[in-house]
Symmetry: D2
Subunit: 492 residues, 4 copies
Amino acid sequence: MNRELFAAGERLVSPAYVRQGCEARRSHEHLMRLLLEKGKCPEDGWDESTLELFLHELAIMDSNNFLGNCGVGEREGRVASALVARRHYRFIHGIGRSGDISAVQPKAAGSSLLNKITNSLVLDIIKLAGVPTVTSCFVVPMATGMSLTLCFLTLRHRRPKAKYIIWPRIDQKSCFKSMITAGFEPVVIENILEGDELRTDLKAVEAKVQELGPDHVLCVHSTTSCFAPRVPDRLEELAVICANYGIPHIVNNAYGVQSSKCMHLIQQGARVGRVDAFVQSLDKNFMVPVGGAIIAGFNDSFIQEISKMYPGRASASPSLDVLITLLSLGSNGYKKLLKERKEMFSYLSNQLKKLSEAYNERLLHTPHNPISLGNFFSFLKHYGKLVFLKRVTNSSLVVPLGSMQTVSGYTFRGFMSHTNNYPCAYLNAASAIGMKTQDVDLFIKRLDKCLKTVRKEQNKEIDNNDKTEDVDIEEMALKLDTVRLDTCQDSS
Amino acid sequence: MNRELFAAGERLVSPAYVRQGCEARRSHEHLMRLLLEKGKCPEDGWDESTLELFLHELAIMDSNNFLGNCGVGEREGRVASALVARRHYRFIHGIGRSGDISAVQPKAAGSSLLNKITNSLVLDIIKLAGVPTVTSCFVVPMATGMSLTLCFLTLRHRRPKAKYIIWPRIDQKSCFKSMITAGFEPVVIENILEGDELRTDLKAVEAKVQELGPDHVLCVHSTTSCFAPRVPDRLEELAVICANYGIPHIVNNAYGVQSSKCMHLIQQGARVGRVDAFVQSLDKNFMVPVGGAIIAGFNDSFIQEISKMYPGRASASPSLDVLITLLSLGSNGYKKLLKERKEMFSYLSNQLKKLSEAYNERLLHTPHNPISLGNFFSFLKHYGKLVFLKRVTNSSLVVPLGSMQTVSGYTFRGFMSHTNNYPCAYLNAASAIGMKTQDVDLFIKRLDKCLKTVRKEQNKEIDNNDKTEDVDIEEMALKLDTVRLDTCQDSS
Amino acid sequence: MNRELFAAGERLVSPAYVRQGCEARRSHEHLMRLLLEKGKCPEDGWDESTLELFLHELAIMDSNNFLGNCGVGEREGRVASALVARRHYRFIHGIGRSGDISAVQPKAAGSSLLNKITNSLVLDIIKLAGVPTVTSCFVVPMATGMSLTLCFLTLRHRRPKAKYIIWPRIDQKSCFKSMITAGFEPVVIENILEGDELRTDLKAVEAKVQELGPDHVLCVHSTTSCFAPRVPDRLEELAVICANYGIPHIVNNAYGVQSSKCMHLIQQGARVGRVDAFVQSLDKNFMVPVGGAIIAGFNDSFIQEISKMYPGRASASPSLDVLITLLSLGSNGYKKLLKERKEMFSYLSNQLKKLSEAYNERLLHTPHNPISLGNFFSFLKHYGKLVFLKRVTNSSLVVPLGSMQTVSGYTFRGFMSHTNNYPCAYLNAASAIGMKTQDVDLFIKRLDKCLKTVRKEQNKEIDNNDKTEDVDIEEMALKLDTVRLDTCQDSS
Amino acid sequence: MNRELFAAGERLVSPAYVRQGCEARRSHEHLMRLLLEKGKCPEDGWDESTLELFLHELAIMDSNNFLGNCGVGEREGRVASALVARRHYRFIHGIGRSGDISAVQPKAAGSSLLNKITNSLVLDIIKLAGVPTVTSCFVVPMATGMSLTLCFLTLRHRRPKAKYIIWPRIDQKSCFKSMITAGFEPVVIENILEGDELRTDLKAVEAKVQELGPDHVLCVHSTTSCFAPRVPDRLEELAVICANYGIPHIVNNAYGVQSSKCMHLIQQGARVGRVDAFVQSLDKNFMVPVGGAIIAGFNDSFIQEISKMYPGRASASPSLDVLITLLSLGSNGYKKLLKERKEMFSYLSNQLKKLSEAYNERLLHTPHNPISLGNFFSFLKHYGKLVFLKRVTNSSLVVPLGSMQTVSGYTFRGFMSHTNNYPCAYLNAASAIGMKTQDVDLFIKRLDKCLKTVRKEQNKEIDNNDKTEDVDIEEMALKLDTVRLDTCQDSS
């Protein structure tokens, strides 16, 4: 409402009350102005009222929401379903233009502002999360894998001779496929076992660079966040190698924003060596739906080059999600989530240690991994049991030994354990952002019940060796299903 | 957004685009200003975007939505559930104050504006619907019955000696109970049969006034909208009697706003005689959920007296519903609904006539009833069949003969037919606002199938007189259920 | 989804996953079944997903949501605006029938279930809040005042000779008007000053009963929750007097559900004497929007009589709000709110005491009032300052001396202080449900700033007696506005 | 609700009513079952109630919505903001897995079903829109350009020697960039002028294939929907060339689904020659927000290969939008939109013709373009006027002569006119899906006002040649702005 409107209102209800309402509006506007002017995440989260007012204000700046709009173009932001319009807060035009995903759209000033502000807020958050010298970033409505592909495709134009990407092994399909999709040949560097941890083989990396010739290497593609017992790559050293040989360095920081350690590695890498871009998932770090990523870096022109490489407009949906989320949380809210995650990591770690000891097993010692934990369970060698453990804990994190897997024509031995021959099978658990004490407690409880059942079966098996494993499986399935249902009901 | 905000936006995206957005905002504001200044229903309906922006603007004027609000009163508009806050657009304070349901609330300028504007819009609509000289009205969050009670309670203070309410009979419980609840004794005036129609017995009314003495009569309580074969009361003549004897006149216009004939009767009554207040349902006339009514009249001070009689605050929900509805429709949209209803009445009438003729039955001739129709079906004398007819048509509108009913201690013979001895049983159908051609067609289709089945049974019965009615009922139930399910599936 | 649907789903995605989804559905259904079977508030609140699924399931049971519905009645639950349908979760038929607001509607099984369950849940909560022997209650979509009126109107039919309602004075307009509206003459019993507290004058009540004659007294209308220094009425003793003289007893328990003390008084009254009905606000006790109340009692047939007195259908909106709220909170959540309120009361009390002492003023000693506090401030005698204090604290709770007010023809001396001559002016503050520490802190901070300013002015005045008060006011207004804006900005 | 729940309900309200509600539920379930079993777009659109129930049912099958879920993975579908969860109907897991964007997710049976059903519905619609022999398709959450890139990247693995993409020129940046981004060299084939139309130079295409050698050609990249005076490519002949030389053929069918002519071309191409995949925009064809595309084809394994090329999960948002839209519309609703679009094309064409004649200008004769029209205006040679024409019509569709543009290092002469030297400047207007009569009328009205103004200026110029163009521009800007504001207000 503007002054005229308030004046009209004063004729209907007491001017004093209207003035109070007018003042109230100004305090919402004050928050919006700060945001637009500073482009920083507000310290305190906005309430829903301010947030929705802001989105509404932006949306009516888009041409599809103009009163008396008449469109004769081929794309006018018309929407057939009111449900769809509503769920997008009437932002229909997406973001970007054919020239650049970060570009401003003439028909959509509101969507364009939304995009600019989101990128600005996200940059602010990356800084406070541990990479203060980051200079540029943008949200892209593709998940981490495809975003890495876009980085590689951009580099192709800079390095026409390059055919290889050097990649310290991490057993996660998307990031492997991101290189294949971009048309490059991944050069897998096996990890080194140090204690329980799997760490980057720096010598092998450097040797490979020399062997292939730096010009034929598109980039080094390293990883921070990963499942234990693998730990974040030795980013500083890799960054130095990249700098020395003039090779770009792309970091897969998938769920690393939530860990100050991962972020610090990137910051250090950029300080002492070369980090060209680092890519992080929106959903894994900001608790939004799957489908977006942030591509960030220390060199404006390179990041802009990537953003210009995206051909055409794109969905505004991931940007909108992260904007809503960050404005709701405020930087204080986000910092609180980071702090709680760290505490949950300790808590989960302690609870797993206790449980392990109770079964005479042990927690793998992986101090360099700030997010994920691995638990050694000797009986995990029986594959059948793994299946059930997986079902009971609703987790996909039971890592057997010696599993073979072929991805895009490449065969990995010991797949999921990040190495050909990890000494033991184990179970993974991560402390991800948003996890609560009750999650840990319930998980531990279910795991305990499940282990008890498995132990009991094991003892029987010793007595009764002629039973086939297959029969076992069916029986145990029933038993474990009961366990699962029991624990489900406990919790509901 | 104000100028400062737009200026801040211009730093992020092209000033030209922002200016366009700013202009767009002004066109929304223009509509809001017109509404606030003129207090009339806009001709063209608003789109959802303008509507929600307007509600949002009003809501942030309420103190519960102030940023930095700190409440230490006993009622501060706090809401426990976000779902609840959202569905009320964050209007929490209700309407009115302890002194007056139409009063302005200091803590809730927005809710107060909402209330004022709604009442103003509704007044505008009543005028265009056929009562141009109405001067005052307000929405009350109670349905028609309780609203009539409030009118009677208000009159009590003006007429301390009065004990009776003169009431031309209409067989609808709420309006009868509205008098009982208010503590008065209804004096039932039986209707006169004229052709097929049941009409007001004016002589009996006047005789009763003389018999009881005008001072002992609180008011005449007449009715416009009703089910055929009753027709609207002779309002002009009743209004003249009221004027002559100095007796107030309260009109139950429950679903009469949708009919220009009902509205015209009220207008004429007020012109030639006395109409103190007329009460209409929100849901039946404006297609909103049940729960609100409009109390309107020609004398500001009396209507205000009623509004001051309501003790305390009240729900804003019905006001909000009708505001949203009228702003969405615009006066043109509402007029279109009125026009379509009239057309549907003709269509329904014709279809029923055709169907009646096909079964050698006839449509009751009730030209004074503009909304409801009665169909004579000779076989309706069998009660068992009625039950099924009712189920098949999903209607509560089958009126048998000679049913007795006691309401609050009063016994009515021939209940539901508005008279002690209507010559025939019949089936009612109404053309209410919002009805579509396919509603009529589907109803006629189901009725036809049902009649066919009943006829068939009837023929069998003639052959087979030893069968008891009870057996009949069960069998027919199954047959008719099949009919119902068949027709349901046709339509889905 | 039923089994067939899940089976169809299994053809599209893995049966194992679908089965898991099917199990998940069953756990939601389990909660719903418990609710329907036991009719009690679940201990743990439901998540939004279960809650909305439940509402959706109920809504599709209403005929307006039937696929292939064809309506030819005068009221078919059609809705013109999609926004309106949505905000009511497509419950359009309201609650009740013409015969009874608690009755089941044939066209609306879902709405009827909603109504039944809500009343059942609310009964459960009243029990746990401190009135375990309550037997019957219903939610009525009218605020406390009108609900009291309905109780009085019901009693009229039982006590045809009665003209008076005995009412220990409480200075709140709605409850006074509730008697006037019902057509009775309030007999005001002045309170007795005991220490700082204002308490019921039991002797005066009994004397008045004898003077008027029990048959001429409709009921005693007592009050629990009220602003200090008035305290809850001596309910036990009043209940005994009522029992002795055979006079009904209606308790205005407006915001008393939140206080175990108020509830205990009612429970005790019913145990030792007579309590016919007690009425409480929905918004003040359950943090929902204004507009509903609960009428409860210990005698099913009387409560049902009241429910049958309501003429016609009514809005389902308040029932829906409280249902959503209670299911979201669970009984544990509601108990937590009650506990926090009690703690906030102590906190507020302590902070006010500290502040008072800093200004050499004192907190009124009102140990019987569990919700509201009064603070004595000697300078409050200057009316001009009151105005500003009010504006600064956004409160309506500054009580001056000797204000006269006429309500419905009755004149009250010392209005708002519940007595003709309270010894001092004071400021009220309440600890209502949902209040947070930051509310108290912000209030104290603003009050402090304001008091400082007022003190400074006072000192100046002493030096400068020729200045008129009017000039003073304008100047102070500016100063205090600055204070207010400052503190507003602190908090945003 | 299942049987148990309904049984519980029967204890609260009449069993007959509950049974009716139960039946009602079954009719909703019936629709869902049909959908799941047949995988086809329902003929009649679903109402919101069925639609939201269905989405809700799917959502609770996802693990993030399990009651008692405890997640210890790195991605558990937790959502920080309730607004975000709500707007995605609580589908948080996105679609696909690391291996395949069409794969089923173990943690998200509901999202997986959603994805499968959407793809199935979309396939059904493509068939009815004119490509009945299509066998496979999937929705990808990237706009058309990036989706084309994905096709090219997939082909790279099949054709390791290929470096070139043969591309009949169309002046739209995204599709050009899609080839650059994929790392290929576009070989631009200039169009031939036939009458007013610009058509594919088939001889040049074949010559180029021979010149480069088929093995070095990744594919032919043709276009259907485009702005007049360019017309859809000669798809049949191109498909035959591709078949003859064993070259893949990718069709950019950006907004072609809405035109039966474009669809027919694809169908014919596939029948007589080779079409490997055709890509269409979701927003331009289905009236949903920007951000999704459909990749479709006639060979399951190739389409699956593309879907497996996408590395990782992806946003479910575009799939959800198109699912909601198609279920709301039904196939009948979509067909109606297609029919109306065709009628609007004729209407727009006639109106433009009339207007042209009034100004002695002419409409370009482009009978092969079923969507877009070009209007010749002789005065368009003055660039200054173009700018204003653009502003007035809010269109980006004024095509000047001789504009040069460099895209990704390639320079285009006469950019936007699809040829180096189109004989005249012109203005474009398209009849896109969802356009209404009032859009056309308003556009024609604004254009008319604008042309009048321009003409007047032109006449003045002839008299007054010494005025500079620059001065002209400023003056005309003011004049035309007035025109725009006037026409804006007309329409509001």
